[in-house]
């Protein structure tokens, strides 16, 4: 009987020790598709000078990264939006903490238009009416007589959530809005569609034209660039975050400190984002 108990305890201990022993000095970073290129560049550069640390970077969307942080399958969640109250409560349920939020860079959320689109600027109100399906033709906002094609991200995306919160004021996207799995896909769709409109990180804006954005009809139209994002005059600027379960220590703290250092921030600028 005692032997059975000893064997059962040994088997249990083996199972328990297994995953902990495999953990090693590896850190996983998961989440925002907007940040995936930036996080990869940070990881590559950091690993170049810290050979003993392995950083694994994957995307999937801010919501996916935060879900992974909650269920313990990532060490750092990257997010292009703030954690929701519901997500914080789920994290608290498991770890008894509300998480640690670290802004790592800034981004100007670009509104993408096709190169041939005659529209040059849009107000928040016009964007809201377009994306909620109240304005459906370009001529209603000074363009040609053509039906507007809406491109958006999926609802697991932080960019989707940020745009919904800030531009749509929490209203729902129009049912005919086409959801695409990544910012590159949105850029590609708008580049090929003269009547298309999309949105996403400024760093992805290649082969399309940025639309100048006005907070209201009286405000100046502002294009996203380093100066306007940094001084806050571009109305769609946002922070890009790291979320952790608790205050960083050890290798994680060293990496986070490096990301916030001039070297890490310079890399953010190089990739197309803006330093803090």
């Amino acid at each position: 009987m005692n032997m059975k108990r000893i064997l059962a305890a040994a088997a249990l201990a083996g199972f328990i020790a297994g995953p902990a022993a495999l953990a090693g000095r590896s850190l996983t970073i998961k989440g925002s598709d907007t940040m995936v290129i930036l996080a990869q560049r940070w990881a590559e550069k950091y690993m170049g000078s810290h050979a003993d640390v392995v950083l694994q970077v994957t995307g999937g969307g801010s919501g996916v990264g935060i879900a992974a942080l909650i269920n313990g399958t990532t060490d750092i969640a990257t997010a292009s939006r703030k954690m929701t109250q519901d997500e914080k409560l789920k994290l608290r349920d498991r770890y008894q903490t509300m998480g640690v939020e670290i802004p790592t860079a800034k981004d100007g959320l670009s509104v993408y238009l096709n190169e041939k689109c005659p529209v040059r600027e849009l107000t928040f109100d016009q964007l809201k009416l377009i994306y909620t399906g109240k304005i459906t033709n370009w001529k209603e906002v000074g363009g040609s007589d053509a039906r507007i094609t809406l491109y958006s991200r999926e609802n697991s995306s932080g960019t989707y959530a940020f745009f919904k919160e800030v531009v749509l004021g929490g209203a729902d996207y129009a049912p005919n809005c086409q959801t695409l799995p990544g910012t590159a896909a949105v850029v590609n769709a708008v580049a090929q569609d003269e009547d298309g409109i999309g949105y996403g990180g400024a760093a992805y804006a290649k082969g399309i034209r940025d639309c100048a954005v006005k907070r209201d009809a009286q405000s100046p139209a502002v294009l996203p660039n380093a100066a306007t994002v940094k001084d806050g005059s571009y109305p769609l600027s946002r922070s890009l975050f790291f979320y952790l379960r608790k205050s960083p220590v050890g290798d994680m703290k060293k990496f986070v400190d490096w990301v916030l250092s001039p070297e890490g921030q310079a890399l953010a600028t190089e990739v197309g984002y803006f330093p803090l």
């Binding site: 399958t73 608290r92 349920d93 770890y95 008894q96 903490t97 509300m98 959801t179 608790k246």
Partner: protein, 418 residues
């Protein structure tokens, strides 16, 4: 000859050189035509793939409206009460042994997000000690008027919105079971009816609902409402983050069927069912250990005494010597709990809970010290080792003294959540 050969060779080289550009030009012309054709073919294939991807995306979007989730709790329990005997009473056969492997919960939840304004949930439970049952089935309608749809109307079978323990899923709870007070007052946690959930502020939520009353586990009325009127329940919660506070109220009536018409004119006994609840949770961070929390909850009110069933004979006649006033009594219940994470994978928890079903009599109080260690094997799997020390008073007729029976319980549970 040599000169002729040289001349012929020279002529052939010259001819080749002269002809080569022409042939190259021909090849170039035919090559550019074939390249253009190839480009067209590739473009056509890309467009076809684009259409296929668009179709797949459309199908995927429909499938993503379905969300499956669930969990399995496989458990071994070892109880001090266990005996190798089987109790036979009339036609009932009950094993006295409680050392057992069993499936405490095997749950599968299907959520369908029809649109941002409506949702349906079907939730099944197939624990080993019962057949597969419908745990929840409800429809949610969200208001179209407010940003982020702050008000939701739920109708069907769902959690009764009362107290912290009821609303908290068994898959995230730190101890294997809820407190005794909750188990008695809200056995099964669910009932049929409707409620209106409102998120007035990011941190303030209220719920107001109307339910049948007996709940889904009630022995007398699992599928019907015994009373014409319905029970009202309401809850308000402020969620600050490092602390939460909430209050709940439940008001209704209980109907106990009675065979003896002398006890009640309508052959049943109706009495008030009133419950008040308050709960609070405080969270803190221990630098070298991890997060921790202190929690407390209090229940009070007037309710059908769980012992009241024992006061009734099979024909629903009050047993001789039993007091009809004890069919419904004032009760209190509370618990205090501590949870501490030890790094990323380990967690310890302890709770002391008390339930007094009748505040007017002695020796009916239930007390329990529950402790548990949770090990999080991976993101989905958790191993729990728990030890419960209940304290109840039993009367020993031979010595005419009260004693606490030996019924401490070890629980080892493996949970996988998906």
């Amino acid at each position: 000859m040599k000169g002729l050969t040289s001349w012929v060779a020279g002529t052939m080289v010259l001819a080749t050189l002269l002809c080569a550009p022409a042939k190259a030009q021909d090849r170039a012309t035919s090559g550019s035509e074939s390249s253009a054709a190839g480009l067209d073919a590739t473009k056509g294939r890309v467009e076809a793939m684009g259409e296929q991807v668009a179709t797949m995306q459309s199908d995927l979007d429909k499938l993503k409206r379905f969300k499956f989730s669930g969990y399995v709790q496989a458990r071994y329990e070892q109880n001090e009460l266990s005996k190798n005997t089987i109790a036979v009473t009339a036609s009932s056969v009950t094993p006295a042994n409680t050392n057992r492997f069993y499936i405490r919960r095997g749950r599968l939840k299907l959520t369908y997000d029809s649109s941002p304004l409506s949702q349906a949930v079907i939730y099944l439970d197939g624990g080993a000690d019962r057949a597969v049952t419908l745990l929840e089935a409800y429809v949610t309608l969200r208001d179209p008027w407010t940003p982020n749809h702050r008000h939701a109307f739920n109708v069907g079978q769902m959690n009764v919105p009362f107290g912290y323990e009821v609303e908290r899923s068994s898959s995230v709870r730190e101890l294997p079971e809820r407190s005794k007070a909750e188990n008695v007052l809200f056995n099964g946690e669910r009932d049929r009816g409707f409620n209106l959930t409102s998120q007035w502020l990011p941190k303030l939520q209220t719920v107001v609902g109307l339910v049948n009353g007996p709940g889904i586990k009630h022995t007398d009325f699992p599928n019907s409402a015994p009373r014409k009127g319905k029970d009202v329940v309401a809850r308000a919660r402020w969620s600050q983050g490092i602390f939460d506070v909430a209050g709940s109220i439940y008001s209704g009536k209980n109907v106990i069927p009675m065979a003896d018409s002398s006890l009640a004119k309508d052959k049943s006994l109706t009495h008030d069912k009133t419950r008040y609840g308050a709960d609070a949770q405080v969270y803190y961070q221990a630098p070298s250990l991890g997060g921790g929390s202190l929690r407390g909850e209090f229940y009070s009110g007037h309710e059908a005494n769980p012992d009241s069933v024992k006061s009734l004979a099979p024909g629903r006649v009050l047993k001789k010597g039993k007091n009809i006033d004890h069919l419904a009594t004032d009760f209190t219940g509370w618990y205090a709990m501590w949870v501490q994470n030890l790094g990323e994978r380990l967690q310890v928890a302890a709770r002391y809970d008390v339930f007094d079903p009748n505040t007017d009599v002695e020796h009916d109080q239930y007390e329990r010290l529950g402790t548990a260690v949770n090990y999080f094997y991976d993101g989905n799997t958790r191993i729990t080792v728990a030890y419960d020390v209940p304290k109840t008073d039993k009367y020993r007729k031979t010595t005419k003294t009260w004693y606490d029976p030996q019924d401490n319980l070890w629980t080892i549970q493996l949970q996988h959540k998906f």
